[in-house]
């Protein structure tokens, strides 16, 4: 079964209850190793990474990856917890799924998460001299932001 297989790769992972797709919570240090297994294992074969999201939970940050397989037609959600807000870092997976290259630049631009080993990490939507990370919950901008 999918759950036993993932637990054998990542023993410290936990699963969430009552979700739309199987959801697994891991620490950010385990992500790269799990990603290689998800792509290369023929029983899992998750080759389509369709959504990369960053979330700010006020005490810590999380990266959420939605993966799907075009061969077996199953879907999984991986949530990687990044504990340190001030030096947020997680490994890049640009050479496993090519779509990660542009998507991780977007997460760096809006959240300030540093993707180690990324070939070209710089801002995407905002200008290069912008200060701050707008999608974080503690972002202040007295000129442009209107608080309701």
């Amino acid at each position: 079964m999918l759950q036993e297989k993932l637990l054998s790769i990542c023993p410290t992972a936990t699963f969430e209850e009552n979700t739309q797709w199987p959801t697994i919570n891991i620490e950010s240090t385990e992500w790269r190793r799990l990603a290689e297994h998800l792509k290369n294992d023929p029983e899992l074969a998750f080759d389509y990474l369709f959504c990369i999201t960053g979330v700010d939970w006020k005490t810590h940050l999380t990266m959420v990856y939605h993966l799907s397989s075009t061969i077996h037609r199953h879907t999984i959600v991986v949530k990687a917890k990044i504990a340190d807000r001030n030096n947020a870092a997680i490994e890049s997976v640009y050479n496993i799924w090519a779509t990660a290259e542009l998507n991780e630049r977007e997460a760096y631009d809006l959240f300030g998460i540093n993707f180690t080993n990324h070939p070209d990490l710089r801002r995407l939507f905002l200008t290069d001299d912008w200060v701050g990370y707008p999608l974080r919950k503690d972002y202040e901008d007295p000129i442009n932001m209107i608080k309701l």
């Binding site: 369709f50 959504c51 979330v55 779509t99 999608l135």
Partner: protein, 362 residues
């Protein structure tokens, strides 16, 4: 001789939106293409954190404005999934018919802009003339020509205009005769074929790895139509074939979209005479509150797989919302497709990818 670095855009002579590419050239051969985004970044995701679940739908019409009904449909589906609302049958039929009309209008505009990119000016006017008929039908029923905020959580905002069914049927008969004219003018033209065949190829594995979806992936052989894989509303009850090609070049993407126009008309014909009577909107509370948790739903827009991901903490506004836009991932494959080709081919590839920049920048 060194490399030449030049800018393409952000202003273009054809309707692409503000796409700024910095290309590195060696003579006329493209060595690297780098997109610079952010000219129309409006921080929609942050804005939606302070809008209620009934309000955030209107912002999504402005993201991919050529498939605005389909974007609204995705947002309505995710809210209905979270609140477990049952949509009445009449509303489901109306939503699917409006979706397919929007897909037709979007592909018509793409066809005109694609032909203009490679040098033929006349098809642009033909495409817009036929598109006006769809815009007039939308204006009569929904009240707007481009950003029709008609689909709401629970169904549709109002009922159909009494002339809607007759006008759509007349349009289908009229447009079928036009499609064979389009084939004569553009598809079978040897100059057009020479510019599009074997240009900008992408293999099936690369298309999946880059996250491509929609006609770009289907032209490379990937079976990925969301209407078939995870059907929503009445798509499970209509018959249509998915258009798959093998070569992955510009001409294959062109053929996929022409076939999709035929299939859209087929879907509308199956549904237009059988719209059931009943309610057009389910009864919902005035203030919607999604329960705590994550919800995701995706639809097939004219460009590909559009997804809405909501993380809710139980309040009236979402905690985090993410829009998975198809154009973003299709654009990331542009660099891979364009290397080694000439500048003129780059223009043809940009046209065949059918990018809408507000969808990419959000």
């Amino acid at each position: 001789m060194g490399d030449l670095i030049i800018n393409v855009g952000p202003q273009h002579p054809s309707t692409h939106g503000v796409l700024h590419l910095v290309i590195t050239l060696n003579g006329e051969t493209v060595k690297k293409v780098e997109p610079h985004l952010g000219y129309i970044h409006r921080s929609i995701e942050k804005m939606c954190e302070s809008l209620t679940y009934r309000q955030f739908i209107y912002v999504t019409s402005r993201m991919d404005y050529l498939s605005s009904h389909i974007n609204n449909h995705a947002c309505a589906l995710v809210v209905e999934k979270g609140l477990q609302i049952e949509v009445p049958q009449r509303a489901q039929y109306i939503r699917v018919i409006l979706d397919e009309l929007t897909r037709l209008a979007s592909h018509q505009l793409w066809w005109g802009a694609m032909a203009m990119d490679v040098g033929a000016i006349t098809p642009f006017f033909h495409a817009f003339r036929e598109r006006e008929i769809i815009n007039d039908i939308m204006e009569q029923t929904c009240g707007a020509r481009l950003t029709m905020n008609f689909i709401v959580p629970g169904g549709c905002m109002y009922d159909l205009h009494p002339d809607f069914v007759k006008r759509v049927k007349d349009f289908i008969v009229f447009f079928k005769s036009k499609l064979s004219e389009y084939d004569e003018m553009v598809t079978n033209n040897p100059i057009f074929q020479a510019r599009m065949q074997n240009v900008g190829s992408i293999t099936k594995e690369n298309a999946i790895s880059y996250g491509c979806s929609g006609p770009v992936a289907r032209a490379a052989g990937v079976v990925c139509d969301v209407r078939k894989l995870s059907p929503y509303d009445v798509y499970s009850q209509v018959e249509f074939t998915e258009a798959i090609e093998k070569e992955g070049d510009c001409f294959a993407r062109y053929k996929v979209r022409m076939k999709e126009m035929n299939e859209s008309m087929r879907i509308i014909e199956q549904l237009i005479d059988n719209i059931p009577e009943g309610e057009f909107q389910a009864k919902t509370k005035a203030v919607l509150k999604l329960p705590k948790g994550d919800f995701y739903s995706n639809v097939e827009t004219a460009r590909g797989d559009f997804g809405v991901y909501i993380i809710s903490e139980g309040g009236t506004t979402p905690y985090r919302i993410k829009f998975r836009s198809p154009g973003f991932c299709n654009l990331s494959a542009l660099d891979h497709m364009a290397r080694g080709n000439k500048i003129g081919d780059l223009v043809a590839i940009m046209g065949s990818l059918d990018l809408v920049i507000p969808d990419i920048d959000r």
